[in-house]
Amino acid sequence: MIALRDVTKQFGARARVDHVSLTVERGTTRVLLGETGSGKSTILRLILGLLTPDSGAITVDDVPVTATSRRDVLQRIGYVVQEGALYPHLTAARNATLPARAEGWEAVRTGARLVELALLVGLDQELLDRYPAELSGGQRQRVGLIRALMLDPPVLLFDEPLGALDPISRSELQGELGRLFRELHKTVVLVTHDVREAFLFGTTITLLRDGRIVQEGTFADLAQRPAEPFVAEFLRAQAPPAAMTAYL
């Protein structure tokens, strides 16, 4: 379970995260939806302890996120970002197994886990010997996913994981991620600006604007009972035109 209680984080004079309270129950998926600069990525970085809140408290599975407990908290979290943030000088396999090396796992155990996860995320094993530059965007993202899952953490955080992908691999990975979330019963927080993605993944969606929560609920809640005109406006802006859906 992830809990934020009245968290505020300022950059200069401007509040990036403004009195946000949020609870993500164990085994559920939460989508943080909003425009660029709405504070959704900052919330992830606060949960990871990469930033310290100016006020308020954050817990991950009841462990408060502080400077001293940060390492324990991080052990429970897998983190996936746009493009995967893979190290260009390491092969896919070396990238993916870094968390295991940090833990001091034996090679045999690491190797077995790598094969298992490659199968799970649908990555061809022979691609593991390639460098990131030799992989496609979708393949890189799968390697990033293997890396996040390496130590089997109960919590997964995704920051625009599909943001840089072309439409087909994006749609493909959207399907697979949805399946994984259901199969693995992880506590997931996924940040996106894409309404379609929020619709696909989020049992609960939190819509943010200027660091504040505008509305929280299912997609149906947001679509049918918008808390303020902005909610309807935001959803409508990304909806395909009716005339277009008629052709598909």
Partner: protein, 486 residues
Amino acid sequence: MRRLTLALIILATATHASAATAIRVGSKSFTENYIVAEIVARIAEEVGEAPVQRRAGLGGTGIVATALESGEIDVYPEYTGTISRAILKDPSLTALPALRAKLAPHGLTMSAPLGFANTYALAVRRSMATRLQLKSISDLRRHPELTAAFDPGFLDRDDGWPGLRRHYGLGITNFRGMEHALTYRALAGGHVDVIDVFSTDGQLTRADIVVLEDDRRFFPEYAAVLLAHTAFTQERPRTWAALQQRLEGRIDTTTMARLNAEVELDGRTFAQVAATFLGQREVQRRHELLPLTLEHLMLVGVSLAVAIVVGVPLGLLAARHALLGQAELLGVGLLQTIPALALLAFMIPLFGIGKVPALVALSLYALLPIVRNTHAGLTSIDARLLEMASVMRLGGRLRLFTIELPLASVTIMAGIKTAAVLTVGTATLAAFIGGGGYGTLIVTGLALNDVRTILAGAIPAALMALAIHFLFEGLDRLVVPRPLRH
């Protein structure tokens, strides 16, 4: 780091110890001083009281005098005017007993004059001297229409042209600055009528020119003597006695000019000229390229290795602590603003002369590009990649050696390459403090104004710089991970 310092100190002490048993003869880096030093060395060898070490070509007065005072050399040829002005800083001292008395507290002493004086003088073409009846500088007062070319140093110094003009009341207004090496040609070609010369210039024995008498005694006396450590004269009494007996008053100004000419105009070696003067059998001894190459490689290799071992951790430290980093970069930056030759000179009181101070100075000099590039390489790593390392809890060695150093390797290697190529060039200056290497040829060539000898040192140095460049390009393949190479 501490171990390294210790090793350097031990090395320095070792060179001191071995050198203490030998007689070490130094010289400045110009022809006449080389020749006299070689003559001194040969006499000392004949006496056989102790083995003789030649530490020739130690730059100018600053370096060679410091080397003498710090006990790095025992004796070298000097001039009374330089002793009073540059070493004792009291131009009023002229009498020999007074000079000796002032030298004594420094633990130094000097021989009686060797016979020649290397002073400034004015010279004119013989044909013109005859036509205008010019014998002394006073005679020039009658001819303010004459043109003159003077060495820049002579033009500026108060004991040069400005003082001379006042002293004699000369009316010459058409004068200009010109490199000393060119003035003889300008005079011979009739482009100018009067030039400044040194009384022992080799060209004086060949060119058809006349030196004008300093009839109103303006130029200070620069009589040649041997400047020596008092302890040396006491510990090697037979050598010192032989030097005095065989050299005092034995080399007059004409002889010295002739010896200079033999080297500068006839291309004979210092050793050959010295041997002839002493009536010894002539020896064929010349600088061999292979030992100089090995020496140069050693200077570059060792100082570069030290600079890498010290510089990369310093760069790492600078990247970790912003404030300390700025102070550190400023520090190594300042080090670079010290002219290389001055840095070498600063090393003499600390490490003496020879290889050790050269290695220390070269290592310090190579630091900047390595520290700076290590810092730049580490601080320019994509922040997201570092953040991901933190999230994965990669720490300590794993983070440093698996993530940070490889990602910064291209930039760090570029710094090391810069340092390597720079060091090949800077190492040629090591010869000024007896460090050896290709610089030995360059220093000698500069002294002789002999372009061929200079090139004999400069071209191999340039080739070595090229070779090292390509060697490091190859080394990139070992150090820089494949996907990061261009």
